[in-house]
Symmetry: C2
Subunit: 334 residues, 2 copies
């Protein structure tokens, strides 16, 4: 690889297959076949082509190839907000898995805005991506553009599912909550609260629902302790204050993500809670380890693999995949 672009240095035009053919004294058809391995070419010819190509620093123009083959080897990835700490790991897993199979990734950050998302989907289709992987920005407002896209190209919902009928790859959200609550109950806790986010976000909504269902079954006599906030510190503070005022018996708080959880921990400390309150987060971000916060590690690599498999359009591949998380118990729940 070291000298690949060596000869194409400086001057404007890049080396094309035509020049390689001339250099090797062969037709461009033969050069193409020798390089792509599409059909059998005599070994000595292949060698001759390789030599010329390397010496000239030839690399096939993938734009031209795409136009001809009608494949771009490119995936469109639409993320609602990459500064949400869950997504970087997902983006990394998807990009890595894609690269492994020769695909590149066009990324779009939808700014949590369904209108931006819609426009982005059109752009991706214009660019003829082979497939679209999307975590929809909104539970209802993203539906239409998602469906339109799915009509044109394999489209996989990743992590956030808003249309059950279309392909999706998701993570079960109740299993880790069951696991955390189970562990804490055997540790003697029995007054659980949940701090979530806006219900238009699919995963937070699912987590809240899972929590509510579990509570109704486990503690039918208790009132449901659920508060919704945003990712800001002030919002978490309000949530903690509300919980402690309305339900002072609370001895465990399940948070919909690590950021909320960290702030809840902080607020509990600074408000001089005499009682020990267990706290857990979601997403197992770097901060969870740093803070000793119990959190939920989602299987991003498996999620990425399943998403790419579903996107490949290969018949027989599962278009609906549900995966499970690992709860990482740390000091915040002990």
């Amino acid at each position: 690889m070291e000298v690949m672009f060596h000869m194409s240095t400086g001057l404007a035009g890049r080396i094309t297959i035509r020049e390689v053919a001339a250099d090797a004294g062969l037709s461009i058809s033969t050069v193409s076949r020798a390089l792509t391995g599409a059909r059998v070419v005599a070994p000595d010819i292949v060698e001759r082509v390789r030599k010329s190509a390397n010496r000239l620093g030839y690399r096939a123009d993938s734009v031209a190839r795409s136009l001809r083959t009608q494949r771009t080897d490119t995936l469109g990835l639409v993320i609602p907000d990459i500064t949400n700490p869950f997504f970087p790991a997902l983006v990394q897993a998807i990009e890595h898995a894609a690269r492994t199979q020769g695909q590149s990734v066009l990324i779009v950050d939808a700014d949590n805005d369904p209108q931006v998302e819609r426009a982005a989907l059109y752009t991706l289709l214009d660019r003829r991506v082979d497939a679209v992987l999307i975590s929809p920005a909104h539970a209802t407002e993203s539906l239409e553009a998602l469906a339109e896209t799915a009509r044109v190209v394999p489209t996989i919902q990743v992590d956030r599912v808003i249309d059950e009928a279309l392909p999706w790859v998701r993570v079960n959200q109740s299993q880790p909550i069951d696991e955390i609550v189970g562990r804490l109950r055997s540790g003697g806790r029995e007054h659980f609260a949940f701090v979530g986010q806006s219900s238009t976000m699919a995963t937070s909504f699912e987590r809240e629902g899972a929590f509510a269902t579990l509570m109704e079954n486990a503690f039918p006599e208790q009132s449901l302790r659920v508060v919704r906030g945003t990712l800001t510190a002030a919002s978490a503070d309000v949530a903690v204050q509300q919980i402690m005022r309305d339900w002072p018996e609370t001895d465990a708080i399940i948070c919909a993500n690590d950021i909320i959880a960290v702030r809840v921990l902080q607020e509990l400390r600074s408000s001089m809670q005499r009682r020990n309150v267990a706290v857990s987060g979601f997403d197992d971000t770097l901060i969870a380890e740093a803070m000793g916060l119990t959190s939920v590690r989602q299987p991003v690599d498996a999620l990425a693999s399943a998403a790419l498999a579903a996107a490949s359009g290969v018949p027989g591949v599962s278009l609906h995949v549900e995966l499970f998380s690992t709860v990482i118990f740390r000091t915040s729940t002990s």
Copy 2:
């Protein structure tokens, strides 16, 4: 936009310009010109073309356009590790700025591996990106591939600079450190330590250098208190223990990023420090607000704009831009 792909539903082939031309009873040249606005077309003709295009759900194939125009309207973005909390905000800023000017972004996560990075750069060149924006993975091992790439396409170093001679857009790393130390000194602190990361990472290296220079000038009689670690909790713990053992007089710790800072805060608390030690981080991630951690907010939007401007290749645009940060003082330094 709502009905754009409406008619292309279902069956394989997408609508091409040829079909729009037939539908409108015009030549494909005219259709192209009417739609791109490249040259003056009679208003009624434009209207006729628009109608046909909309009705048929036509959208130009950008692969074909790129082959013809030799522009892809695509930027290659190479990031060393998107799970490093600084990068999501940068990726978001770049993607947003790019979209605003009609460019898409092919993203690659180099896994902190110069070999992966090199291969990624070749792939981006194969894909004929208009420019490359890169935060190099390694201070020396990334040099060669960076230079090769720069020979073919406008290539801008973003945030991390390893080759001063090539274009870059960076953030001054000493200004915020000067600012933090200055503020803390007027608060009476005078024994500063620094916890950094591996010196092969350009920014951490610069921060460490800035700290060292400042200390030599301000406290020439003191020994230099610098420890390097990794992003893990265990590493930060060791760092804190080393500082407190070797330099027990330390009353302020500047950390090279927020993750390290949070862990340092934790370790200080749990080790029952009787003395109050100020702590600051870098990158002003969500966690800094949640923890009340003083941190350095880098101007990612301006960084992105400057990078895109430099990548545009427009003559007169600055190819070397240095920007400044804002220190967000919070309770961790009071």
